[in-house]
Symmetry: C2
Subunit: 106 residues, 2 copies
DNA sequence: CTTTCATTTCCATAATCGCTGAAGTATCGA
DNA sequence: TCGATACTTCAGCGATTATGGAAATGAAAG
């Protein structure tokens, strides 16, 4: 993972609406939610939501799938894991004592 | 941790210079580095660096200590861990299968 | 006390971001 | 084919962010 990609990932999560979207999708598994459901759920207008979804998708944090005229969005767990990997692998380079506890994912 | 604090933390890391600063401090342990050393190391002018250090500090990701006329900056590991905690604890709410592997920190 | 050095704060500017309304695209149902 | 529905893209705007130069602060050294 390049530094720039990591910056894009952090940037995608550095906004309240987008973090809410991401959290919501966290709890909605493989099937995810349709854009309209997210919109209703979080009270974000369609166009603004579309803008944020694009940012999250470009950051490799979510993915989309068309079902007729609906588009479902769901977590891209691999992208998220690569961010966590970056955050934890570089954590202790040169200084293991600083970061002594394990962080568990699930 | 509040949503807004998390957004601030992600925002602090969502910038190339700041991510570089943070990575550099990762590898410099408890003692950290003086502002001037960081500046020289990364080629960032003093005033701009100061601006970025402030952002990282306000996000609880680094801390500072004055030594005479030098100021050392070092990792605030607790703040970083709380971010990792947020990212991993909420990860599987409602969907453990999505996020099955452990992420190790050190 | 004055100078010097390390760093921060202030100010101005250019770039980016987030939001909105309006228009565009894609799909479905009649 | 026509209209309705779901969603995206575009254009424009106000707000925030990143940066650099200049001035200010804080601490040491002479």
């Amino acid at each position: 993972m390049e530094m720039k990609d990591i910056v894009i990932q952090f940037g995608a999560l550095a906004q309240e609406s987008r973090l809410e979207i991401f959290q919501l999708l966290m709890t909605n598994g493989e099937t995810g939610l349709f854009a309209g459901e997210i919109s209703k759920n979080l009270g974000i207008t369609a166009n603004t939501l579309s803008f944020h979804l694009k940012a999250l998708q470009q950051a490799d944090l979510i993915k989309s799938e068309r079902h007729g005229r609906y588009i479902s969005y769901s977590l891209n767990i691999e992208g998220y894991k690569s961010l966590l990997k970056f955050m934890t692998e570089d954590c202790c380079k040169g200084n293991p004592t600083l970061c002594a506890t394990d962080v568990e994912c699930c």
